[in-house]
């Protein structure tokens, strides 16, 4: 089960009083999730730690604005994703913005590579080399598609929750998720198909 579900035990009244123990509990229950999201959005531990700190500072300052209609974990994800996207935008300021362009070009990502690599032994699929490639593949996604993919498929949020976090419609979540998944499949297929060829030689 999603760890976030434990958050129902969080005492919202105590948080609003800025009770330190209640807040420490909130941090303990959510810091792994938020750090993980930062790591995968930004790709390095330093930025992930900055996102983590900023998220909880903002949560502490703005707890009055949390209405309690969604899970508190969803609210924290929302702060963290916004922080991450802001940092990514800042980082790209000097570079040309190619994200939006790529997005439309890849509009319908038709599967190109049709190779069944599922039969590869598990130890090949999760070798250090493979894991590096999986991480690199996640980083090739556009920021918007990556955020949708991480929330839905890694953090295990529902489509509705993901839509709330990203402030977009559920159908937009589905479109981004589909693009992300197909692109990842293509990236991993390139890698594992090569591996199969090399090994059959």
């Amino acid at each position: 089960m999603n760890k976030a579900d434990e958050n129902s035990k969080i005492d919202l009244e105590a948080l609003r009083r800025k009770d330190k123990h209640a807040f420490a509990q909130l941090v303990n229950q959510n810091s792994d999730n938020i750090y993980r999201l930062g790591m995968k959005m930004l790709g390095n531990p330093q930025d992930a730690e900055d996102i983590l700190q900023e998220t909880f500072i903002k949560a502490f300052d703005n707890i009055d604005r949390f209405e309690g209609r969604s899970k508190v974990s969803t609210w924290l994800y929302r702060i963290a994703v916004n922080e991450a996207l802001m940092l990514l935008r800042k980082r790209k300021d000097n570079l040309t913005e190619i994200d939006a362009e790529l997005e439309t070009k890849n509009g319908d990502l038709l599967p190109r590579q049709i190779v069944d690599w599922c039969c590869l032994p598990e130890k090949e699929l999760v070798s250090n080399e493979s894991r590096k490639r999986i991480n690199a593949a996640i980083q090739t996604l556009s920021d918007a598609n990556r955020a949708a993919f991480l929330l839905r498929d890694v953090e295990g949020l529902s489509t509705k929750e993901t839509a709330d976090v990203l402030d977009i419609s559920e159908s937009a979540v589905k479109v981004r998720l589909m693009r992300a998944r197909l692109q990842l499949r293509e990236e991993l297929t390139n890698f594992f198909a090569d591996k199969m060829v090399r090994e059959s030689l």
Binding site: Y35, R36, I114, K174, R181, L184
Partner: protein, 84 residues
Amino acid sequence: MKHSHDLDCKDLLSQMNDYIDGDLDETLCSEIEAHIKTCQHCQIIVDTLKKTITLCREEGREVNLPPDARQRLFEKLNLPENDD
């Protein structure tokens, strides 16, 4: 690729996400399963897509907050540690 089924490869691709997430009704689900049985192309896409998601999820969930970063977080927030 054309098949005798009502559903072609293009339809399947557009329903793939919902199919993988188990969000489709039974009728559509069994139509897709029937298609996949006779179409290796789609079978491979579904299998590799599912495997891709599993591998990325497992890799993603490997990450945990390092203890020193946790300590810095609590200091920054001026919160008591070991307070579960």
